[in-house]
């Protein structure tokens, strides 16, 4: 047996390895971190120190790891909110607004509907959050199909409306009368709070993204409907000729996606914040959007990209806290990672 391989064979192996999307993505992420290291050096800091602090703060302790998990819960949901509509060719940039409306609806139920038992309260809050997000996203579909408005424009602008919509309530009718004038609602009661897991900030909301990922993966890869969604996203006219009810798929994909973003809002209020306040989402929807595009909308890959983004965000908080770097700098790093991943992706066809 000849054990050694020729140079040509080696190049072939390296080439086919480089053709694998995951290898390209990892190289792209490394590249982005290198570019950001140059940026850190340019502002007069030590990149090695910054990166080691980030790793230590995220993966170096039980607290760090659980915090990454805490961030991943809403990120995975908002990433699915972008990826499910993307399957049928829709671009949902409205995750941010849908999170706000979901959080608002869930808080409304928690504060103003007397349900009593936690076993009923939490599911009802989740349903309210889902429906709230879905309605908000549904407006974009209505405008798209019946008023010819591209969903990108309607979802982008409606984000700003949603933020203000929540403000109307937390500065107004829902403001906690005993809250020293802060624009917060009253704190949620025991039965409307997602229980914490093992003395960390991790909470039972964790089941939402887990179910979401598994269900989405199975649905997309194992059912006829999943295949149909891909057909609608690829070529709607051809799909229609094959008898697929295109409009129904578009409506459902958007409603489910937007509903999941609404669930992220519910889980933030019920699991972490325990009251509604302005800025409750703080880029959750946007981060999910980036995670979904980074993962090419693949539900399994989304776990990886959400982990990466969550780790960067938590690492950024550690740096901010220790005075090394303001957390705003992490948006720069996340942007670099996405550009790099998109840019490293193999060209399907040569442009022109």
């Amino acid at each position: 047996m000849q054990r050694s391989i020729s140079l040509q064979q080696a190049q072939g192996i390296a080439g086919s390895l480089f053709d694998r999307p995951i290898v390209r993505s990892i190289l792209a992420i490394v590249f982005a971190f290198l570019v950001f290291a140059i940026f850190i050096a340019m502002i007069g800091r030590d990149p090695l120190e910054i990166y080691s602090k980030m790793i230590e703060g995220t993966l170096g302790s039980k607290l760090g790891i659980s915090e990454v998990g805490v961030r991943m819960i809403p990120f995975v949901l908002t990433a699915l909110a972008a990826s499910i509509p993307a399957r049928v060719g829709l671009i949902n940039v409205g995750g941010e607004g849908q999170v706000y409306i979901g959080a608002w609806a869930a808080t409304g139920v928690a504060l103003y509907v007397d349900i009593g038992t936690i076993w009923l309260m939490l599911p009802v809050m989740a349903i309210a959050g889902f429906i709230g997000g879905a309605i908000w996203g549904g407006v974009a579909i209505f405008l798209r199909q019946w008023r010819n408005v591209n969903e990108v424009i309607s979802t982008l602008l409606s984000n700003y409306v949603a933020i203000l919509f929540v403000n109307v309530f937390v500065f107004g009718a829902w403001k906690n009368p005993t809250g020293f004038g802060y624009p917060y609602t009253s704190n949620l009661e025991f039965e409307s709070i997602l229980p914490a897991i093992a003395d960390t900030r991790l909470h039972m909301g964790l089941v939402l993204p887990v179910i979401g990922i598994i269900a989405t993966y199975l649905f997309l890869s194992r059912t006829r409907w999943g295949a149909n969604m891909r057909a609608v996203g690829g070529n709607p006219d051809a799909a229609r000729r094959r008898g697929i009810p295109v409009l129904r798929y578009i409506i459902i994909a958007m409603l489910v996606g937007a509903g999941l973003a609404g669930l992220a809002g519910m889980s933030e209020v019920s699991g972490i914040q325990h009251h509604l306040r302005p800025g409750i989402s703080n880029n959750l929807g946007f981060m999910g959007f980036l995670a979904s595009w980074m993962a090419n909308h693949n539900p399994i890959a989304i776990i990886g990209t959400c982990f990466l983004i969550a780790a960067i965000v938590v690492g950024g908080d550690v740096l901010q806290f220790s005075g090394n770097l303001p957390s705003a700098a992490m948006l720069i790093l996340i942007g670099l990672v996405l550009f790099s991943v998109l840019g490293f992706r193999r060209l399907e066809r040569r442009a022109e």
Binding site: V152, I153, V168, W293, G335
Partner: protein, 307 residues
């Protein structure tokens, strides 16, 4: 009754100022889209322009340098999009949107030390005689220099698009890259130039916001004006002259909202803050069918609605 009159009167004089920054961004997006590309990074370019225009003006005490810097950074950010969408064939909308978040990160970082400070920046210049026209004079001719340039830019862009070789090349590329290429034009160079020019104008709009309108910098201060511009281009049906009408509409919405707040309308100020976005969404919805017919051929793949 007198309240209503007060509101209308105040809205009229305040209708132009808040619209100028959006008008620049709309011009920029319009040029980009005429070349067949869409740039959602316009919002990011505006933020970059607002932030670095402010920083450079504060550090050098020269608003001219600040304005120039705003165009450079706005354009620089948009070139990232140009590279990725033209050479790497990435999705335009996702790339542009990521660019906006990237710009938000850079400006939040770079502008930290400048929040809450005020500078002279650009001050209103009264045009003799014209500014004395009752009502209208005050509204139109007591503005900063960038506003007057914006007035002139609309008709100039209109003429440039329809009657110059450059403008015709731009439109040809936006209609069909293949046909333009066959006709001996270089579509890539033209698209890159259009995206760069669009980013520069968006940056300029940002500078007008921080240096001319508010004289301050705050994180995320554009609050969606760049996205409003993307909507207004559709309302404007890719015509610079109609873009001016669109900017007036946005300025009017902001002016109305501010006036209603001043007279103490019995509505939550946050509902009033929604007005500009809702009005823009409304007019886009109203004109979108007519607009779809005017859309450059090259945009139809990305900006489609109704499947």
């Amino acid at each position: 009754m007198s309240d209503i009159w007060l509101v209308l009167n105040g809205t009229l004089t305040g209708v132009v100022g808040p619209g100028i920054s959006v008008l620049y961004a709309t011009y920029g997006e319009l040029i980009t889209e005429r070349a067949g590309r869409i740039n959602l990074g316009t919002e990011g370019s505006m933020l970059m322009g607002a932030c670095f225009g402010f920083i450079i003006t504060a550090e050098t005490s020269s608003a001219t340098l600040g304005v120039m810097a705003s165009m450079i950074v706005g354009s620089g950010l948009s070139l990232v999009l140009a590279y990725l969408v033209i050479y790497r064939d990435t999705n335009q909308l996702a790339t542009g949107f990521a660019l906006t978040l990237f710009g938000a990160g850079i400006t939040a970082y770079a502008g930290r030390g400048y929040v809450d400070s005020t500078i002279g920046g650009l001050n209103p210049i009264s045009i003799p005689l014209l500014s004395e026209i009752p009502k209208l004079g005050q509204a139109l001719f007591e503005q900063d220099i960038l506003a007057y340039i914006a007035y002139a830019l609309g008709p100039l862009l209109f003429l440039g698009l329809h009657y110059t070789r450059t403008g015709l090349s731009l439109k040809a590329v936006g209609e069909s890259i293949d046909v333009a290429f066959a006709a001996g034009r270089n579509p890539r160079v033209i698209q890159i130039a259009a995206i760069a020019a669009g980013g520069a104008l968006a940056g300029l709009g940002g500078a007008q916001l921080s240096l001319g309108l508010t004289h301050t910098w705050s994180e995320g201060m554009t609050v969606g004006r760049g996205f409003v511009a993307v909507g207004l281009v559709i309302f404007a049906m890719w015509s610079p002259l109609r873009a001016m009408v669109g900017a007036l509409l946005f300025g009017g919405a902001i002016g109305l909202q501010l006036q209603l707040q001043t007279v103490g309308a019995p509505v939550s100020p946050f509902i009033l803050d929604m007005l500009p976005y809702l009005i823009i969404l409304f007019v886009v919805a109203l004109w979108s069918r007519a607009s779809a017919r005017a859309m450059p051929e090259g945009l139809k793949g990305v900006l489609k609605a109704t499947t």
